[in-house]
Amino acid sequence: MAHPVMMDPPRQREVGADVYNEKLGMWIFLGSEVMFFTALIGSYIILRVGYPQAFGEPGQILNVPVTASNTFLLICSSVTMVKAFAAIQDGDQRGLRLYLLATVVIGAAFVGVQAYEYTALIHEGFIPSGYIEGRHFAELAAQGELPANVGIYGSTFYTMTGFHGFHVSMGVICMIFVTWKAFKGKYTAADHRGVEVIGLYWHFVDLVWIILFTIVYLI
């Protein structure tokens, strides 16, 4: 952002990307994150096209209502995040702290819900390697209600959502750190790079989930 004081003073440097290092660095890092998720999500798409019969219809195995509400949670955490950023832009410390806290809490809640989703699925017999013999899903499959073999379904599902969850958790941890700094009043209207940078990461993770939710749960 071309904030007058944010830019290097004249004659110090060639003009680069027109933004301060931390922000540029985060965007670059997100580029590599894109490719990382490409490896995981791309493999899912490829495997699914190559062997569709292993993948259940929406709602057959995965619990759409729960994850839909989880999606909503993540969207909320994104808006609180951006509101925190807007607050500090105007130098509103109180707003910053409240919204950051909210983001941390909602983010953690998302991870919690995902943990619950996993345990439920595993309890019903759906694991990375396929079905657990004798569990609910395995029986349904035996009756032909579900795909007979969901090996790659489980593999791709748990890997993708797992690594997304991992990213959220990392985000929450960093967010806690930023919040702590916010409470120590480290951010000002003039300099709040920490808030903006963590925000970029957070929204990116949200964005990945938007894609995941659609292609994993709804397609």
Partner: protein
């Protein structure tokens, strides 16, 4: 931060509402008794729309200079190339 000065804060709650509505919409579409292809297309369209909302407003790409936009979208073609190429393995 600059845009904080250059323009009033965008209506973030509006974006939030938009995302929520689109999600609800997706849920509706997903279980319609239409042809799978049609549904898939619509869903992907909606997902991209949501993604754009997040990128443009929450991540402020809308107010970034072109260089930052380039940084942001540069990897996407690479992400597409590999998937397309490998999919042709099963479609020839």
């Amino acid at each position: 931060m600059a845009d904080g000065q250059e323009h009033a804060h965008p209506n973030y709650w509006g974006v939030w509402a938009g995302l929520a509505v689109l999600t609800a919409f997706e849920l509706g579409v997903a279980f319609l008794p239409w042809s799978k292809q049609a549904i898939v297309l619509i869903l992907i369209g909606l997902a991209v729309w949501k993604a754009l909302l997040v990128a443009l407003y929450f991540m402020h790409l809308r107010w970034e200079g072109n260089r930052m936009r380039i940084f942001a979208i540069a990897p996407l073609p690479l992400a597409v190339i590999i998937v397309i190429a490998v999919i042709t393995e099963f479609r020839w």
